[in-house]
Homo-oligomer: 210 residues x 2
Amino acid sequence: MSGVRAQQKEKTRRLLIDAALSQLSAERSFSSLSLREVAKEAGLAPTSFYRHFSDMDELGLTLVDEAGLTLRQLMRQARQRIAKGGSVIQISVATFMELIESNGNVFRLLLRERSGTSAAFRAAVIREIRYFTMELCDYLQKANDLEADVAYMQANAAVTIVFSAGSDALDIDDKAEREQLSKQTIQQLRFIARGAAELSDRRKAVRKRK
Amino acid sequence: MSGVRAQQKEKTRRLLIDAALSQLSAERSFSSLSLREVAKEAGLAPTSFYRHFSDMDELGLTLVDEAGLTLRQLMRQARQRIAKGGSVIQISVATFMELIESNGNVFRLLLRERSGTSAAFRAAVIREIRYFTMELCDYLQKANDLEADVAYMQANAAVTIVFSAGSDALDIDDKAEREQLSKQTIQQLRFIARGAAELSDRRKAVRKRK
DNA sequence: ATTTTAAGTGTACACGTGTACGCTATTATT
DNA sequence: AATAATAGCGTACACGTGTACACTTAAAAT
């Protein structure tokens, strides 16, 4: 059991995954990809596809998992930068925008399949985004001493805003426009943070009065 | 030129439009619809389709236009209710949620094609949403005495949050959960409104000091 | 009354699709 | 050394697709 066989299998499995990813673009969604196209791009015969995935759906779910991984890397990267000091919101948005510039297709996959046609895909994407939201929620709760429900509402709203901005960014080529979009997004996140902090303060004031 | 011919044509044109709309669902996107399916559902021969639209894309753009119309009706309805008194945010969210319950497919169309595969579709959807945002922006600017840029950022964020909530609502059957989602959305919109008002106030204070 | 226009039909075609099936060649197991 | 397992290939098939083309039939224009 030297594993040279399993190793080779894993290799061509990656070939398929990468082939699918590389075919994604603004004009091409995963659901519009055919098994044959992916196999061809990977340099395989169509029927060889089945040795690795039983379905295009199975490949798709694998891609969503990879996208979730990318999301978690993003989170880690942002945290590292924040630890070195600076505006939390500003750094987070900048990091997110960089991800989109370098991994546009992965991000597109998430955006599309979130409102897509397959229940399994939707569930998978929503799970990844929820995970992302929860991590942010935890952070906010500890960093700003918020109550759980307020922190969640802020995290949820923030993620929504940032993802939406990311979606817009994908359609913008001009760098100045992108910069402008970032600025706007930062301001919007500040709106939300301000509102959340105020609700939290108000509740605390009521509690002290008792 | 009694127009009995043109009248009939318009009628079957509507048949096609309605056929397409009626086939949309959580499991079926417009882009997954085939010309033949739509024609069949409308009770026409496949080739008759071409007498009305040169393309499925042309049909799709027509649908997006109709969706935009629905959006504008929503705006009008919300305004009427607001005029009778009550919380602006609460009424707006409630009205929006009702639209989603009754016109789920139309709304799905907008959500999907916004990040869809056709540049023309994306542009059309974005145009409709921008129009919607601008109308809200106008309202906010006048009602709350905000500066143009602040009002726009608030409107943009609010629309993003509400559309995202709408998308979530489409996947929820339980009424209590829907109610909970509405409550959360209202609170998030209040966060944003609060943040915008504060930025506006701060700017005004600076101006007076001069 | 005759001719022109055009909505709708039916047939036909080339094409891309998923996948069942049998085969080869190489690795893993016995 | 003999046998079993399996990654990958090639062929073949039925099916759904968009649409070109020639047609009928009824309204509109002459």
